[in-house]
Amino acid sequence: MTLIHVPRPDMRSAMDPGRPVNALLKAQVQHLHEAEKNLPFRHRTDIYINAIKTEGEAAEYIRRVTEAIHEAHAAAAKKRARPVIKRKRGIAIAAAADKRPVGKGPGAGGQKKKSTGNRGRKT
């Protein structure tokens, strides 16, 4: 079995976060910006993408939006998994008692009752 030596790059010259963003990274930033628009507000960054000029700046934006996408999906999954709280029986009876009897008055015939803006108050 042959062992092939793989030379390492000179890190001092290879690494340059100040390098201007190439077309590929620009496209990636734009794609993430589009994706960011679909996120709930609390997960969005406040980064102005037209001001991103260097690879390091692009990397930071890419990281933040990628993490935000995962966080938003995780939050949604957690919400879906939360058990549904059943209403207590007493409340349901009280709500039913609020209904107008069928066949009496102007709201009869299944029409929806208009909100008075005094929900929950006795009038």
Binding site: T2, P7, A14, M15, P17, K26, A27, L32, E60
Partner: protein
């Protein structure tokens, strides 16, 4: 069924960035004449009309700056040499002219013809010589990254030839969707390097199905624990950035990123698979580049089955519409498996639509609907069935090799 196919459980695709076949593997013709690389008579005219020959003077970094243009109009110039007449013929004579357009510097434009000497790329050239190298693997479109990578995931770019987000509103599902929703269910994962590099497949898959994704450290862990999915697609690090473990240099090999960093990355993927003996015997690794990045290659891209989409003259930027009936420029592609005979050279024609075509046929048998380009694409691993054509089966050895190289990473 041949032993190699019988053992095959995992297919891994590593897609690098923006280097042509001649640029990376052209030197190997001198070692194995069956490999269709650099020959003596090749040249491109510069803007003074002088012939510029390919030379083994490529450097790891700092030479292809600015990034050579590889958008649709530039690639059209590279392939057709500037001829825009109706009956034009491709000649691969426009690479130097195209690069000249970016800096108006004749001397600098000649660097687009440079290629790497074999000893500069010990990983890629060793894999090409030890396993199966493809003489005719082309980018799917004569254009840039995003639309080419879309072919690897969907078998089509849905009519796009540019870098804009591709929103999937067509019935062609990604290869990941097909696998994870199949009965019986298969597993698939798209591994990006880390969250700071993220993925090029943002607009659709990451946004809507983040559960399909993992990071490169997770890939290494999945290899070590034997939990690799049936299908894995790996993306390199697309940018220089700091991380918890230190400085991360871009290893995608996109100009002007460091090519040696990419060599290390390819070697680390190979080693991760090889170091788990059960995985090594049951995995095939395809190393392929998304497109040529504007860098010289001498093989004329062939015509292909048209897709059901057409890019308008306005979208192509050439004044001519494009029916997706011609492949892009040739790129390096190597298939690795201990069941492949040393020194295999494949002359059949492939493009990135061959990736979902192969994965679909191997794991699912069939799937409908798929794009015309994908159904017309050849497969690089034969379908998992009783009748295997020995002439097309690359994993053809009766016994697994035990002489495969290791890389000191």
């Amino acid at each position: 069924m041949p032993a190699g196919l019988d053992n095959l459980r995992h297919i891994v695709v590593l897609m690098m960035e923006n280097r042509s076949f001649d640029h990376m593997l052209g030197s190997l013709t001198a070692v194995n004449p069956q490999i269709d690389g650099i020959a003596a008579q090749l040249s491109n005219p510069d803007t003074n009309g002088n012939p510029v020959q390919p030379q083994p003077l490529a450097q790891f970094q700092g030479q292809l700056d600015p990034d050579p243009d590889h958008h649709f109009p530039a690639v059209d110039l590279q392939i057709f040499g500037g001829d825009t007449s109706p009956n034009r013929v491709a000649n691969m004579q426009g690479f130097v002219k195209s690069y000249f357009n970016q800096q108006r510097d004749v001397g600098h434009s000649q660097k687009i013809m440079y290629y790497f000497a074999q000893n500069q790329l010990p990983v890629l050239t060793t894999l090409a010589l030890e396993f199966a190298v493809f003489n005719r693997w082309f980018a799917s479109i004569p254009g840039p990254t995003i639309c080419n990578r879309a072919f690897a995931h969907y078998g089509t770019s849905f009519g796009r030839v540019d870098m804009n987000p591709i929103y999937i509103n067509e019935p062609f599902k990604s290869i990941y969707d097909r696998l994870i929703n199949a009965t019986p269910k298969h597993t698939a994962k798209l591994y990006y390097y880390d969250t700071t590099s993220s993925t090029m497949e943002v607009a659709n898959l990451l946004q809507n199905q983040p559960e399909l994704f993992g990071t490169y450290p997770q890939f290494l862990n999945d290899c070590g624990t034997g939990n690799l999915p049936d299908y894995s697609f790996i993306e390199p690090n697309f940018n220089d950035h700091d991380s918890d473990s230190g400085e991360e240099v871009a290893n995608d090999q996109h100009p002007d990123h460091n090519v040696q960093a990419g060599e290390l990355f390819i070697a680390s993927v190979y080693n991760a698979i090889k170091q788990n003996s059960n995985l090594w015997k049951s995995t095939a690794l395809l190393v392929v580049y998304d497109e040529h990045g504007g860098i010289y290659d001498h093989v004329i891209p062939p015509a292909c089955t048209p897709d059901q989409f057409t890019a308008s003259a306005n979208d192509t930027g050439t004044g001519m519409q494009f029916a997706f009936d011609r492949l892009g420029v040739r790129v390096p592609a190597i298939l690795v498996s201990p069941w492949i005979p040393r020194g295999t050279v494949v002359n059949r024609t492939f493009d990135h639509a061959s990736i979902p075509a192969t994965i679909t046929k191997f794991f699912l048998g069939d799937f409908s609907p798929r794009s015309p380009r994908e159904t017309g694409a050849d497969v690089f691993i034969e379908p998992n069935g009783p009748a295997v054509d020995p002439a097309r089966n690359l994993l053809s050895l009766a016994n697994m090799r035990n002489d495969c190289p290791d890389f000191d990473v």
